[in-house]
């Protein structure tokens, strides 16, 4: 029984190290960079972050993407961008850049354009895909200083720079579906502390054998 289990696991591990499994949706979303002509989508729910991502692989490891991130459903960060796989062997390293918006309501209103740069790295370990994301995000808003009667005294630009990060592992369930669990470590309004978050996610893909 134990031998059978070990053999099955070993076979599965070998199978998921296979080159053409590198394009698995879980690896594409968590380690970055979809296989050429693959569509991938990922969604995660957690506290405080909930995210949705869609991306498509092009030639040469280029991967356009669209995403929405929400914190406590009170801070919204929609964005479009592109990723590029730099290294893709046992280890994968991908760079991503996005432009979008940061939208936050009362009592700390923030509305303005945002840009983010990040790297995603990790490797395949059998069916697992441990990953680390590190990034930096900058958003700009206009602060309004109002008098008691509501007249606008002045508007001044304010920049918010945020370090972003996530650490976790994916798990490949089937050829087209995987899941992940991870910690989110965004540093939202430095130097105020930020409490780390947690999420669980699911990834899927299609069009991989075109």
């Amino acid at each position: 029984m134990a031998t059978w289990l070990l053999l099955t696991l070993a076979a599965a591990a070998a199978d998921f190290q296979d080159q053409d499994k590198q394009g698995h949706p879980t690896r594409a979303v968590l380690l970055g960079g979809s296989g050429e002509a693959h569509w991938n989508a990922g969604a995660s729910v957690g506290s405080p972050w909930t995210t949705v991502t869609v991306q498509r692989g092009l030639r040469g490891g280029w991967t356009p993407l669209a995403e929405v991130q929400a914190a406590s459903f009170a801070r919204w960060q929609p964005a479009v961008g592109v990723g590029k796989r730099w290294i893709d062997r046992r280890w994968r390293l991908t760079g991503e850049g996005t432009v979008g918006w940061t939208l936050q309501g009362d009592p700390i209103p923030f509305r303005g354009p945002a840009a983010e740069l990040r790297v995603k790295g990790g490797r395949a370990v059998g069916r697992f895909a441990p990953y680390l994301h590190l990034g930096m995000r900058s958003s700009r808003t206009e602060d309004r200083v109002e008098t008691v009667s509501g007249d606008i005294l002045r508007e001044e630009a304010r920049w918010e720079t945020t370090l972003t990060g996530a650490l976790g592992t994916g798990f490949l369930l089937t050829d087209r579906v995987g899941i992940d669990i991870g910690l989110d470590l965004p540093w939202v309004h430095m130097p105020n502390p930020s409490i780390p978050g947690m999420h669980i996610g699911v990834q899927t893909g299609w069009g991989r054998n075109q």
Binding site: A74, P191, N192, S194, G197
Partner: protein
């Protein structure tokens, strides 16, 4: 970056602790001795009573992501029960809760609310009463009568005033009837001194500089005046009028100094100002006239964090164990006539 990492860990720790086990034994270690702690400055409240601009200010100081939905956090830290949790977490034995009547700035926490929240544990919580001072010409009589009635309750052990938040001058004799009331009830008076970070507060010296309190102090020798924040300048984050506050304590026996909030992560980012003012007080010889308060709960973990920062600053300013015990607990017990607390092993 290193300090950021540390602050993050410190912010998480209280939560981890709450999940992991029960409250630690009351008391703190100071230079190898266990000392009891009384926090004389905590705010119970009602988030809905806080003006919008101040809600924004407070929310911006909560750790992310709590500032996004601050009403949930506020309800979780502002009740008597929640304050007891914060005290347990900080190993603090007892605390004094402040009533506040500053509808245009920091909001309102009525005397009734303080007495109600105090019921969470009347052996650990007491209150300072306050009064509205708006339209003083017409309403002073009724306001003073209500204050007197509040002070008749044994749970109310003093009076809280904040000229900058309540918009009345420190040297205006029209309001000295409040100190007469303090004499009648043998009630110490806590006064906010220094500028205030809250939107809508008065920033002129007549409302913030403790020098303007001298007339009241000199003419009311039987009233114990507690100079809150020691004249700290919360706008420019520097000691501000601390020297004036210390000088008043040197010259008047009825003046006490309370270094709350000025050493917090947000108000003293470099961590140098709290040790500096404590050193100044010790050099001036008024180290036994200090009294500990945090100005929490602010956000979860603040009461514990502020206590830790204060202990670090006391040690940096070379306070003895005996001095620390007076500051951390015994001065509050004698000043407010509440029981003396002992540290648990």
């Amino acid at each position: 970056m290193h300090t950021h990492g540390v602050s993050m860990v410190r912010t998480i720790l209280p939560f981890a602790f709450l999940i992991a086990c029960g409250p630690p034994p009351k008391g703190v270690d100071y230079r190898g001795t266990r000392l009891a702690v009384v926090d004389m400055h905590l705010h119970p409240g009602d988030w809905q009573q806080v003006p919008e601009s101040t809600q924004g200010y407070l929310a911006s100081r909560f750790p992310f992501p709590f500032g996004l939905r601050p009403e949930q956090v506020a309800e979780g830290v502002l009740t008597g029960e929640a304050i007891l949790d914060q005290l347990d977490d900080a190993a603090v034995s007892a605390a004094i809760l402040f009533a506040v009547y500053a509808p245009r700035t920091v909001g309102v926490a009525t005397n009734e609310l303080v007495l109600r929240e105090r019921r969470a544990d009347t052996s650990r919580l007491w209150g300072l009463a306050s009064l509205p001072v708006d339209r003083w010409d017409e309403s002073s009589e009724a306001a003073l009568a209500a204050l007197s009635e509040a002070l008749d309750n044994p749970g109310m052990v003093g009076i809280k005033l904040a000229h900058a938040h309540m918009h009345f001058r420190m040297d205006d004799p029209a309001y000295f009837s409040i100190y007469d009331m303090a004499v009648a009830h043998d009630a110490p008076v806590y006064l906010h001194t220094g500028t205030s970070p809250f939107p809508g507060t008065r920033t002129e010296p007549e409302y913030t500089d403790p020098a303007y309190l001298e007339a009241a102090i000199a003419t009311h020798p039987r009233v114990q005046f507690i100079l809150g924040h020691m004249g700290y300048d919360f706008i420019d984050q520097r000691p501000g009028d601390a020297d004036t506050a210390i000088d008043l304590a040197v010259r008047y026996d009825n003046v006490w100094l309370e270094p709350s909030a000025l050493g917090s992560r947000g108000s003293d980012p470099t961590g140098t100002n709290l040790p500096l003012v404590l050193k100044k007080a010790k050099t001036a010889g008024v180290e036994a006239r200090l009294i500990y308060g945090s100005d929490g709960p602010q956000s979860p973990g603040f009461a514990a964090d502020y206590l830790e920062r204060t202990l670090t600053a006391l040690e940096a300013a070379d306070y003895s164990v005996e001095e620390a015990q007076l500051i951390l607990a015994d001065n509050a017990s004698s000043l407010f006539g509440i029981p003396t607390f002992k540290a648990e092993k």
